[in-house]
């Protein structure tokens, strides 16, 4: 592992993968600044003064509905993250800390959610959402995404909570904290890195999802940005400038969120607690 040659190989492989992963994104961002003709003629060239054309951005920012779509996406993503983290952490705490009937069975039931894709239940979900009169609402999306992400969140957070020394919880009990206060004032601050991990895992698929917005909130000004971009994709004519510009701008919020959460991904937050 420590040999310089193998370290070089590891970096080469990771570098190659990074290039591969970034290539489409770079292509999208590059072409979003080019005139329509240049996009088709020289798609792999970076923008130059000759073919520079911010018309896509003008159209995206000029379209007032797109701003709402961004807001919808941010609301749905933020709502899903908050609910997933809150309920996930609470469930994980209960499942790891307390012994009660059905504890193991409940944990198993929840882990089934990791294995079975939620999209298999799309028809039932549509029926349920329709019954609840939640079609074309962001609430429907937030609830579905929370349900989708809870199993993995509980799984990851349980592992972290189990690693918190038992003595800490007992010290808090001796200090007279209620179980809720132990959870909010001792456990939550200590699993912040894990919560950031879960937040990142939750955020990206939710932000990028097209499926559930299409099924549950396809109209009424409740479209998310991934769905909103579709308006530029026509059956006969596609406004590539606008599509690329919209996609490029859609990267920004999720990138910002990632930066915020990744700052929390600090290891060793519990160091100093015991020993």
């Amino acid at each position: 592992m420590r040999k310089p040659l193998s370290a070089f190989a590891v970096h080469a492989i990771l570098g190659l993968y990074t290039l591969l992963a970034l290539f489409p994104i770079v292509l999208v961002v590059m072409n979003s600044f080019k005139a329509r003709r240049a996009i088709f003629n020289t798609p792999l060239h970076p923008p130059s003064p000759a073919n520079f054309d911010p018309v896509g951005y003008a159209r995206v920012f000029g379209d007032s509905s797109l701003a709402f779509y961004y807001l919808n996406s941010i609301t749905v993503t933020a709502g899903a993250i908050i609910l997933t983290l809150l309920f996930g952490a609470m469930a994980a705490w209960a499942l790891t800390e307390y012994k009660f009937r059905w504890n193991t069975l409940l944990a198993l039931f929840l882990s089934i959610g990791i294995m079975v894709p939620i999209r298999l239940g799309s028809v039932a979900i549509i029926q349920l959402v329709a019954e609840l009169n939640l079609i074309n609402t962001l609430t429907a999306l937030i609830l579905v995404y929370t349900a989708q992400n809870l199993p993995l969140a509980i799984f990851i957070l349980s592992e972290f909570i189990a690693q918190i020394p038992k003595d800490l919880r007992e010290a808090a009990r001796c200090d007279g904290l209620s179980e809720y206060n132990i959870f909010f004032h001792v456990i939550l601050p200590l699993i912040r890195p894990a919560m950031a991990t879960v937040a990142v895992f939750t955020m990206i698929p939710v932000w990028n999802d097209l499926w559930f917005p299409l099924l549950l909130a396809p109209a009424g000004g409740r479209q998310t940005i991934t769905l909103g971009v579709q308006q530029f994709l026509g059956q006969y004519i596609t406004d590539w400038n606008a599509v690329l510009a919209a996609l490029s701008t859609a990267i920004v919020p999720v990138l910002l969120l990632y930066v915020i959460f990744s700052r929390q991904l600090i290891r060793g937050l519990t160091s100093g607690a015991v020993k």
């Binding site: 800490l168 001796c174 200090d175 904290l177 100093g272 015991v274």
Partner: protein, 355 residues
């Protein structure tokens, strides 16, 4: 401060009984040390007093109030954990005042009590530090400070020194003894280190297999152990045991000959007995006669001023004798060892002390 009275306490995990019929009184202001080998139930007993472990039967009262059904915080106890269990996301002052904050104490009072505890433990310069920025000894002092701030009726210490290095352990031990005097605190202290037990305790409680084997003043336990277990557990190196049988006028040790000593009345001739003697009550001495046994030197450990000689007796039994000053003994030497007749302990076949 208050006394702790435990009556007929028992505790089982399923079919396994970890505490059996524990009766223990901790007097107001006294320092009681629970000591015993791993798994003897001493920590479980402490945690039962704290309320962290539900008990199966019996009663625990603190300050005359039965606390069986009460939560840890309502029992008037403060616990210092082996691992310190400091909240890593809070500074030292917040750690010490955490319990009071949730008890709804006014800010000024919390600050005053934290300040007072910090002064006692010389933690004032560290109040704004996080636990990870502290050394092991400092963390231990913060954990003790957190207990002091709560002004408990009883302090519970669960092996507080086992994570410290040897030098720090001695310092902190002295510190705890000083604190006990200063606060006139009732303390129940768990350890497996008998030096801690001997030096700190007003009363030592020796536990084994979930039972109390003996309780009493440290030197009483040392000089008059009630049974083989306590005799072997208290003292380092451990007491030497020589198996033999009661005969007229003494104890027959087989190949090692006869040790003549007055047997306590009621000892049946032929009964299996065990003779116990501490290493410091054995002397390497040439010659024959008296309480002298021939022995071969197996190993010599020199600690400087003192040392220990591991001996093999004629019967094959092994014994350790303490030596003082320089001796020319070396492995393989044939010599004699003299036993101090006044310091012999005699135990019956059931392990109990005779006489």
């Amino acid at each position: 401060m208050a006394e702790v009275v435990i009556g007929k306490l028992s505790k089982s995990f399923g079919a396994v009984e970890v505490l059996k019929d524990i009766d223990l009184a901790v007097e107001d202001g006294s320092f009681v040390v629970l000591v015993g080998p791993s798994g003897c139930g001493k920590s479980t007993l402490l945690r039962s007093i704290a309320g962290l472990e539900p008990v199966t039967g019996g009663s625990i009262s603190i300050g005359g109030r039965e606390v069986n059904g009460l939560a840890p915080a309502q029992r008037g106890i403060a616990m210092v954990f082996q691992s310190y269990a400091l909240y890593p996301h809070m500074d030292v002052a917040a750690n010490m005042g955490f319990g009071l904050k949730f008890a709804g104490a006014p800010k000024a009072e919390i600050a005053a009590r934290v300040q007072e505890a910090a002064r006692i433990l010389q933690l004032e310069p560290l109040l704004k530090r996080r636990p990870r920025e502290l050394s092991g000894g400092q963390r231990q002092r913060v954990a003790i400070g957190r207990a002091i701030v709560r002004k408990p009726q009883v302090f519970l210490f669960d092996e507080p020194l086992s994570n410290l290095d040897a030098a720090l352990r001695v310092n902190t031990r002295v510190e705890i003894a000083r604190l006990h005097k200063m606060l006139a605190a009732t303390i129940v202290y768990v350890t497996h280190d008998q030096v801690e037990a001997m030096t700190l305790a007003d009363k030592i409680v020796v536990m084994n297999h979930g039972r109390i084997e003996q309780q009493g003043k440290p030197l009483d336990l040392y000089y008059r152990p009630a049974n083989l277990f306590v005799a072997g557990f208290i003292g380092s190196p451990a007491m030497n045991f020589l198996k033999g049988e009661a005969v007229a006028g003494g104890v027959g040790l087989g190949a090692d000959g006869l040790i003549s000593l007055p047997l306590p009345p009621g000892t049946a001739p032929g009964a299996h007995v065990t003779l116990g003697i501490r290493p410091e009550h054995m002397r390497i001495a040439a010659g024959e006669g008296g309480l002298r046994l021939p022995a071969t030197v197996d190993l010599v450990e020199r600690l400087g001023e003192t040392g220990f000689v591991h001996l093999r007796l004629a019967s094959g039994a092994v014994a350790i004798a303490e030596i003082r000053g320089e001796t020319g003994l070396k492995t393989g030497d044939r010599t004699h060892v003299a036993l101090d007749p006044a310091r012999l302990h005699l135990f019956g076949a059931d392990g109990r002390r005779l006489g």
